[in-house]
Amino acid sequence: MNISLNITETIQEWLIGFMPEGVASILGMSIVALIYLAIFAVAGLYLVLLERKVAAWFQLRIGPNRVGYWGLFQTMADALKLVSKELTGTVKADKFLYNLAPYFVIISSLMALAVFPFTKEFQAFDINIGIFFLIAISSVGVIGILLAGWSSNNKFALIGAMRSGVQTISYELSIGLSLLTMVLLTGSLQLSEIVETQKEGWLILQGHVPAVIAFMIYMIAGTAETNRAPFDMVEAESELGAGFHTEYSGMKFAYFFLAEFINMFIIAAIATTVFFGAWLSPFGITESIPWLGVFWFLGKTLMLVFLMMWFRWTFPRLRVDQLLTLEWKYLLPINLVNIVIMAIIVWLNLTIKF
């Protein structure tokens, strides 16, 4: 196999063949962006399907099984239906912000996808502050949610949005700190380098105890960051009906919905990259076939996504003050101690390397 998966360079080189360099690089970027958009819009839909199937199996049901074999086209049909639906809105809504909000949410989650190393080469944008970029981008989405809740002119939506603000600001700390714990091991924020370091063993093994703690904190905070149960204060259907997207319909609602699932994918993908060696195969069993990295990356990510779904379909929801108690009284102090422990481990060279 000699497929070059380094799509950004491949496309740009091909374009440079018949147009000036500046235009080619801009055009190349747009093409890559479009490819990613197409792939992940579909991938998001299939994540929705996966969620529905997994939920069904947890709940002794069968799940979608009508559209296509095994219900494979169910979410496609749903998306088509949503596209064709009327876009309703409230009378006194702030029209500009109301329309802007869904795009904020979906764009911020799609942007984060650019930096993931699906294989050694299949990475659209290998920025040297990769982790920092991810944390920064993933917190932009909350602005969209706040805008949506505020501009809808609906009190349920407003409560949802305010809860979302509280929640994201708090849990961002934990996400950042737990990732920072792992950065102590790698010494770099660049994702490709983080993966390089893991050739000596996945970071969760290298950092053993503090890494496992960091991973647990990351998963809890990550679930909270995506506003999924047990932290779905924002939507909390038994309390707020639908929360911040109460007044959205049709495709605007679909953007919110899709963004939630892409965000879930992102959180799992970050965990895969930082803790589980991204595209690296266990014990290097498929090292000779580089394109299999995609398989390993997606496999690990989907395992973590499944874990998050397992949380969602098992646990009750926290109350809004307990949500903050959990963060400020438990996760944050543990995290701070954990960083110190990790620093000591790195300093004393107690990491496990193969």
């Binding site: 997994v54 199996w57 947890f58 002794l60 049901r61 069968i62 397992w310 949380f311 098992t314 646990f315």
Partner: protein, 158 residues
Amino acid sequence: MSYISDIYTGIKTLLTGMSVTGKYFLTSRKGAITQQYPDNRSTLKMFERFRGEVVMPHDENNEHQCTGCQKCELACPNGSIEIIWDRGIDEATGKKKKFIDKHIYHLGLCTMCGLCIEACPTDAIVWAQNFENSTYDRTQLTKVLNRPGSKVKAGVED
């Protein structure tokens, strides 16, 4: 110290909860509790006492057992049974006798309480197990239970 034991018991209870759902996740393919309703029509059988709708059984000679005594009409709380009756002369005995012209049953008004069937002295009306009662038009819910041309079985008296 309670801080750490809180965390420990907290995580433990969460994991035991996950083990319950996890167990069902692995075994659910066998034991789905939902039914694929329109697909399983051929195998779906209702219990024999199921109250679907009120029917009047007729035998092969197109004879029913309703004498037109109107006890069901009186027993019905919602007025869903109306009996149009007449008096005629019994051919066998030559006496004057009540017989039904139409036994009208408004399924749309019926609450399936079963009082009419309890009240019927001749078991002329019984429950049918048919539950697919939806129609496109409300008027179709008004049914005439006795078939056209039917008559009361000989020897049935109230």
